[in-house]
């Protein structure tokens, strides 16, 4: 047990320590300073921009940033959609897996485009290697888009008045080539030598030791799994994601994969500090996020170690904790830690089945995605937090009777309206989606085209836990997370289309909002700090932001949590 807890603590601390120099490096990349990789990538990038006729040095305002961001995403969506729709007859398909149905292709293309990776299919049977590799491409670029958006917001937060906020293509390509690609390559090599396959051969048929005939799925997994974590995408190569023994072969690879998903979200916060030369502000932000993270992680690890009370009553030995849906090589302790890391950050890869988590852990996993701002995904994590900062500045400004100012810019009605809209959108999408699905499940409606059979058929568990399955699916979609209570029968038009719509709205609107606010603020007159300024790099302000987050999350989501995992917790006692 001690070796397990020591494992968790050391992974967490090592990641924080390494995130500081990486943050410094990321700040350098966005500031345009010289970096180690320039000699390799500068000529490649120049070539790419020259051929495609893109000027990567022209400064854009926030609207141009947005327009470019949305147009590239649209092109990628159609490309991906058609590959998935016709994968069965395209090349690199040694297992002869079939093409996707249109609704599944729609859901999959969107979910990889928006960095969610919801995956209503299983990798072994649902995708050709060509599709796997193309989805891997989306894992790079969707993370790059999130980071480019964050970089624009960083630029806008500088102390000056301007509408020139850098170039989207420049931020985007640099995020991909200078940050995501080198880190992924390192992780891929570590995985390779720990036993993860990287082959283009199909399934292998073998006769087992006691004489059964089985097949073993393989594929070009190592390259895929590296960027899946570095880019906080989370889409697994194999069906069960990082619980699969080839996707995550050892305790060591588990530690590396944890590190890989945490490192960029951590580093982005420090990068902000170095970029603006306001390291104290960055530490306050990081502190608030860490407190939130620990408040979620500690109860989860404890409840997983304590095991299932219902199984405890049967009189067997739950020495390490709850083992349903867990792998022996990881154990319940670090599986609990992972389940929060992956939901706090929008990774959504799993190394244990969340559907079988203890009710307390399920509550915490859901809460992590409902808040969606502690660390958060590549780039977008900070954008979500930015909304809460704006709200906190506004509210605390009103409380102490000072003009709400943030980094020398006045926050006025327009910015607060946008921030409030974004903050409300998240619960609105989650709760209305869950309400719709629950309505059908409660009435056991015959779903016709939308689902073969009656609505309760999509539940894998009865009662409160069944409700949690539906709540989790919409929460995961709205948080662009991608993990699931996987018992839910979600590969059908109802779930593919409803979650697809939620995915689109909850990716792009929370990017548009912060970009707009930051763009509007950057254009305003800069007011130097005075005695009347509300300081944003203090602990008190940190507490204020935390309170805003807690109140919004608690008020909007407590009733839903009470119906699902909390009710289950009390019935298990």
């Amino acid at each position: 047990m001690n070796t397990e807890l020591f494992g968790i603590i050391s992974i967490f601390i090592v990641t924080i320590v390494l995130a500081i120099p990486l943050g410094k490096y990321i700040a350098k990349v966005y500031l345009g300073d010289k970096t180690f990789f320039d000699p390799i990538f500068n000529p490649i990038e120049k070539f790419i921009f020259k051929i495609s006729g893109i000027n990567s040095t022209e400064e854009m305002n926030w609207k141009q940033h947005l327009k470019t961001l949305l147009s590239v995403n649209m092109v990628w969506f159609f490309l991906c959609f058609f590959i998935l729709l016709f994968q069965g007859s395209l090349f690199l398909n040694p297992d002869n897996n079939p093409s996707m149905s249109p609704d599944l292709a729609f859901n999959t293309a969107i979910s990889f485009l928006v960095n969610c990776n919801l995956q209503h299919y299983s990798g072994e049977t649902g995708l050709s290697y060509l599709s796997q590799i193309f989805l891997m491409f989306l894992q790079f670029v969707s993370a790059g888009v999130g980071m480019a958006a964050a970089a624009m917001v960083f630029t806008a937060m500088k102390e000056r008045t301007t509408d020139k906020l850098g170039n989207f293509y420049n931020y985007f390509i640099k995020s991909c080539t200078r940050i995501l690609l080198p880190l992924s390559a390192v992780v891929a090599v570590v995985l390779l030598f720990s036993g993860t396959p990287m082959t283009f051969e199909g399934k292998d048929a073998i006769t087992t030791l006691q004489g059964d005939q089985v097949e073993v799925s393989r594929g070009p997994a190592a390259a895929f799994i590296a960027i899946k974590h570095i880019g906080t995408n989370g889409g697994g190569f194999f069906g069960v994601n990082s619980a699969h023994p080839l996707e995550n072969p050892t305790y060591f690879t588990n530690a590396v994969e944890l590190w890989a998903q945490l490192i960029i979200p951590f580093a982005m916060i420090f990068a902000l500090g170095f970029y603006l030369k306001k390291t104290k502000f960055a530490y306050v932000v990081f502190g608030v996020m860490t407190v939130g993270f620990l408040l979620l992680v500690i109860p989860t690890v404890i409840s997983e170690i304590n095991g299932n009370p219902a199984i405890e009553k049967m009189g067997i030995a739950q020495t390490t904790g709850s083992m349903e849906g867990k792998e022996v090589r990881f154990g319940p302790a670090i599986s609990g830690f992972w389940s929060i890391a992956t939901t706090v950050i929008s990774t959504g890869s799993v190394n244990s089945m969340h559907d079988s988590s203890m009710p307390v852990s399920g509550t915490m996993e859901l809460l992590a995605m409902m808040v969606n701002a502690f660390y958060g995904g590549c780039g977008v994590g900070f954008l979500n937090f930015y909304i809460f900062i704006i709200l906190a500045v506004f509210i605390s400004g009103l409380m102490v009777g000072r003009t709400p100012e943030f980094l020398g810019k006045k926050i006025e009605a327009r910015e607060v309206k946008i921030a409030a809209f974004i903050a409300i959108l998240h619960p609105l999408l989650i709760l209305s989606g869950t309400a719709l699905a629950s309505y059908f499940a409660a009435n056991n409606t015959a779903m016709g085209y939308w689902f073969s059979g009656n609505a309760t058929g999509w539940l894998n568990n009865p009662g409160h836990h069944g409700f949690s399955e539906m709540l989790y699916e919409f929460t995961s979609s709205a948080a662009n997370n991608g993990s699931g209570f996987e018992g839910l029968g979600d590969n059908n038009p109802f779930w593919n289309i409803t979650t697809g719509i939620v995915l689109l709205l909850s990716r792009f609107i929370p990017i548009i909002g912060p970009l707009a606010i930051a763009g509007l603020l950057a254009n305003k007159k800069y007011i130097p700090e005075s005695a009347g300024t509300l300081k944003t790099d203090t602990t008190i302000f940190g507490v204020m932001v935390f309170a805003v987050i807690a109140i919004i999350a608690a008020l909007s989501f407590f009733p839903a949590l009470a119906l699902g995992p909390l009710a289950e917790y009390f019935t298990l006692k």
């Binding site: 790079f140 619980a243 390490t320 990881f330």
Partner: protein
């Protein structure tokens, strides 16, 4: 329109960078990895009997058993049970597994059965069990194979991976059974 055209060109070029050059580079390095990145296999007398990392079904009484699996250990796919902790049907199934385990191992007390032997793994392909999970099967396996109990126990102990600093203690069931077959 001209804009979209440049985005398409831009996309195709970065596809080459991230979806062709990057995976091919990793594939190149894989040629130096164990079994050239095709997954490590275990062979007996030159015949592949399994993948080292992938669990197999063992239900014959002369072998050590692994964990229950939601996909019956067919690694063409993967999957957990996804049963919730309070699901009555699921709890009844666990109870049934405990009862069966006790019938086959009549010398055991209930409290000696570790949880992983009666619960399904996340992947359905878990290659490991805990050292306790292996040790409680020693008596049955030794009896079935007409071997000295001490000898089988020593074999199990030699196959326990104890973590030095961090991790969990494990026993790889396939490796254990391969070694068991060679035990005279």
């Amino acid at each position: 329109m001209k804009n979209i055209f440049s985005i398409v060109k831009f996309t195709l070029l970065i596809v080459v960078l991230f979806a062709v050059i990057y995976p091919l580079a990793v594939y190149g390095i894989a040629q130096f990895a164990p079994n050239q990145g095709k997954g490590e296999t275990i062979s007996v007398n030159g015949k592949v009997v399994g993948y080292q990392k992938i669990g197999q079904k063992f239900d014959q009484s002369n072998y050590f058993w692994g964990r229950p699996s939601a996909v019956d250990y067919n690694a063409a796919g993967s999957g957990g049970s996804n049963k919730g902790a309070s699901n009555k049907e699921y709890l009844a199934l666990v109870q049934k597994r405990i009862d069966t385990f006790l019938i086959v191992h009549p010398y055991l007390k209930k409290s000696e059965i570790p949880a992983e032997m009666v619960t399904a793994s996340g992947s359905g392909l878990d290659p490991n069990i805990s050292p306790e999970g292996a040790l409680i099967q020693v008596k049955r396996v030794a009896k079935e194979r007409k071997l000295a109990e001490a000898k089988v126990k020593a074999l199990v102990e030699s196959k326990i991976n104890t973590p030095k600093i961090m991790g969990t203690p494990t026993v790889n069931v396939l490796e254990l059974n391969v070694a068991l077959d060679q035990l005279k």
